[in-house]
Symmetry: C2
Subunit: 494 residues, 2 copies
């Protein structure tokens, strides 16, 4: 296989290899069941490290384009989508300018593109029950209160509410955020808060400020899929640290740190996305110690840190941070409403000013009106009572889903009881794939997040992420019944 | 001068040199009036191209850190700010982790940081009249209509308005945008529109998708300062094409294109920011021909393209584009209200899908609620009547400012009559600097945008940008009177 590599390019070699093979597969030049060259052999041909080829193959596997037969090699997978993907646009690709044609092949966002691919497989039925989402229950959204707050703010502030606003965010809202955080043990000040367009922007801003193409970043494996895309978009190398019941296996970190020099550790320590597990106290301390020792910033993603259902709760890493080592990201999307698109960063030291500038260069600021409306609505007391209500309802829904899984799912499926957050991470029996189950589940009118998109490197196809908060009790039970039926049908075909 | 250069770094060498010298100046290691080594000599010492050193010096000059004495060399400037800049935090910089210390020196956003520096010079008086802004008249903002629209939308759509919404933007709003554009001769479809958080995000998204560190981008010189920062944040090399009364001097483009291979041309062809000039018809055609011939995407920034006061109006480049060569950016910030933070991109071909994905990875989407509210308010008819009202009022204010400039400003100042947009670009007599005038103007309670921040390379200090739309007639006259008084005071000191 002759792959043209550009060693001057800022696109890492493994991505170039991955992109080339992906194109060949999508164009039909490499038909299904074609065996790819062994990693050792291809590495030799191309004059690259064997790890580089292995990384490329792992990326293709993430995309469902190839699969591995143990002890036999890597093979081109059967396309689940036939000609229905957006790749059939390639018929006319030659009509576009060359820079567009190049772009067509060079932008690779594995999680997003894989989700698009799965979504394109089967038309979604009307009465689909989805456990796939990443947000809470819609009926808890205080839409009327927000309407009143918006109206009050526009009457009170008139056109003052419709200008560009303060660069770091509406100051009274930043003050309120510090009060909400203080309640969670994070002591901070309004001039350490930067308001962002949801936590997604908080996370992507931080990553783009701190990372350059070719850098290395550490994440949990599995992790939040959209962050995998953020890291791919920046051309950085992702190293996944495995997760167990106590979160990221920080014991494995030190070994990596002696050989790699990562530029960032990204972590969701509490009610992790997608697994729901929480990093233990000793591991939190170990993580902070290693970050200090090896001089690596930590990006802490607390998207549901305060949705705590029972047991001992862990302090945020930011609360343990004594010297500006942790950049903390929070959001109002999960607890209040995703449509506000309001999140925030907490940072100390020079990086805070840089983040404010970076945000300003990116979009000049998040809507001041929306910030003022949230500020007019939210107080620590209101936030607390909203939180208590959500905790009560979501805990009940979790228990209902756990009971339904126990009742309906076939033997050999496993899951844990999450002590907070939104998700149950369910594992199918060995040899089964939630990607393969996906179209069958859609036929049964139930949907989940197929877990493979959550892995930055080597995948597991056995997992699915189920959001237990989105539906009322009777629909949770009905959805699990459908899921169990689809799983049995799928198992019968194996 | 021994400057440690990292030739493996993605930070271009000229930026590394610039950053090093900047740090030395800010720390006091290089005191004012120190002569920097000649570019040829330093280039030899460091083993780099002389242009590299010249670029570094030009960057320092942009920041006001050094100045050039004709035929004598480059000298460290007297700090205008003394110890009042944020650099006095450097006392405690050693307390932060090394990665933070590094960041302190490595992020360089010349326009933003220069504006912060000027802003820190003198405390702004209470009754300051500012001509510095980049938006229209606040009294034209339809705040009441927006309040009604928000309330109606929340009643109508309830929680549907508070979810994540469509990835490319609220579809009915995208349809409305196509109708508004059709009115301006740009034929497009809703599935070629991507709604963004203001045009700043539209521009920065496109730049970050298409550019990698070390790439080269062409802009007008002078140009929109925040785009200079966007390009710096991406580590790309900016080449400025001079502007005359007919816009970018496209004749000079071809010569550059034979030696450089730029990855993007960024242009504001109509009522350019900051000069107010418009690219002529022949030059528009030449620009498109060259972009096709050399396979370079064009990013067209039409931030006030329809604020047209008189004479022949030019079609947008996008309207002349026949094959997906132009990516067009528009906004509602100037015509309606900046606080909505709503802008949009128009693109054809594979780049459109990539931009949608890129936006999704960046922030998952702009507030759906705000999009629905704008859609509920705006129709082509309402947009048109808003536009007509703005044109009538702004044209009158332009004429009032022109008359006041004629009446009050000292001899030797020059300006043109802009036929649209928001800005007059005023030039002081030779040897004078709008940076030096700035603190005197603030004492006289008037403010402008000092023009040096608009130059990506070699600066002119003789210009200022005046926004004529923001104040009612009597305040425009009063502001120009103050400006003239400050200018006279300043000229007396020379």
């Amino acid at each position: 296989m002759r792959i043209p590599l550009d060693r001057e390019s800022s696109t890492p070699l493994y991505q170039q290899i991955e992109q080339f093979i992906r194109r060949e597969i999508n164009s039909g030049s490499l038909p299904p069941e074609t065996r790819l060259p062994a990693t050792r052999q291809l590495a030799e041909n191309l004059g690259v490290n064997r790890i580089t080829v292995a990384n490329a193959y792992a990326g293709l596997e993430a995309h469902g384009l190839v699969y591995t037969r143990l002890g036999s090699g890597t093979y081109v997978a059967h396309s689940l989508v036939g000609d229905q993907t957006d790749y059939d646009k390639s018929e006319t690709i030659e009509n576009w300018p060359s820079w567009q044609q190049k772009l067509w092949h060079s932008v690779y966002l594995p999680a997003l593109q894989e989700r698009n691919r799965l979504a394109a497989m089967v038309r979604e039925p009307e009465d689909l029950l989805s456990f796939a989402g990443g947000v809470g229950a819609p009926e808890l959204i205080p839409a009327n209160d927000l309407r009143k707050a918006l109206s009050d703010v526009l009457r009170r502030d008139n056109i003052d509410a419709l200008g560009y606003g303060d660069r770091a965010g509406y100051p009274p809202l930043r003050a309120t955020i510090t009060h909400i955080l203080a309640d969670q043990g994070i002591l901070t000040q309004a001039d350490q808060i930067l308001v962002t367009t949801g936590s997604q922007q908080a996370l992507s801003l931080t990553a783009s400020l701190l990372l350059r193409p070719g850098d290395c970043v550490l994440t949990e494996s599995p992790t939040y899929p959209s962050m995998i895309d953020v890291f791919y978009s920046l051309g950085v190398k992702i190293m996944g640290i495995p997760v167990d019941d106590n979160g990221m296996q920080t014991e494995k970190l030190e070994e990596i740190l002696t050989t790699e020099k990562p530029s960032l550790i990204y972590t969701t320590p509490t009610y992790q996305n997608p697994t729901g597990v929480t990093l233990s106290g000793p591991r939190r301390r170990q993580l902070l110690t290693l970050a200090a020792q090896y001089d690596i910033p930590i990006l802490e993603d607390e998207f549901v840190g305060d949705l705590h259902y029972e047991g001992h709760s862990q302090p945020a890493l930011k609360a343990l941070d004594q010297g500006g080592r942790v950049i903390y990201s929070g959001t109002f999307s999960k607890m209040l409403m995703p449509g506000l698109r309001l999140g925030y960063l907490v940072a100390d030291g020079p990086v805070y000013d840089r983040l404010v500038e970076w945000k300003n260069v990116t979009d000049l600021g998040t809507s001041d009106l929306i910030q003022r409306a949230l500020e007019a609505y939210i107080t620590v007391g209101r936030y607390q009572s909203h939180l208590h209500r959500a905790v009560r309802i979501y805990r009940q829904r979790r228990d209902i889903m756990l009971a339904a899984l126990e009742k309906y799912m076939p033997l050999g499926c496993h899951w844990h009881t999450p002590h907070g957050g939104l998700f149950i991470w369910l594992q199918l029996p060995e040899g089964l794939s939630t990607n393969d189950l996906y179209p069958i589940a859609l036929q049964e009118k139930v949907k989940y997040l197929a877990g493979a998109v959550c892995y930055p490197g080597k995948k597991s196809y056995r997992h699915m992420r189920l959001n237990f908060t989105m539906h009322p009790p009777q629909l949770i039970e009905e959805g699990v019944r459908r899921l169990a039926k689809a799983t049995r049908k799928y198992m019968d075909t194996k």
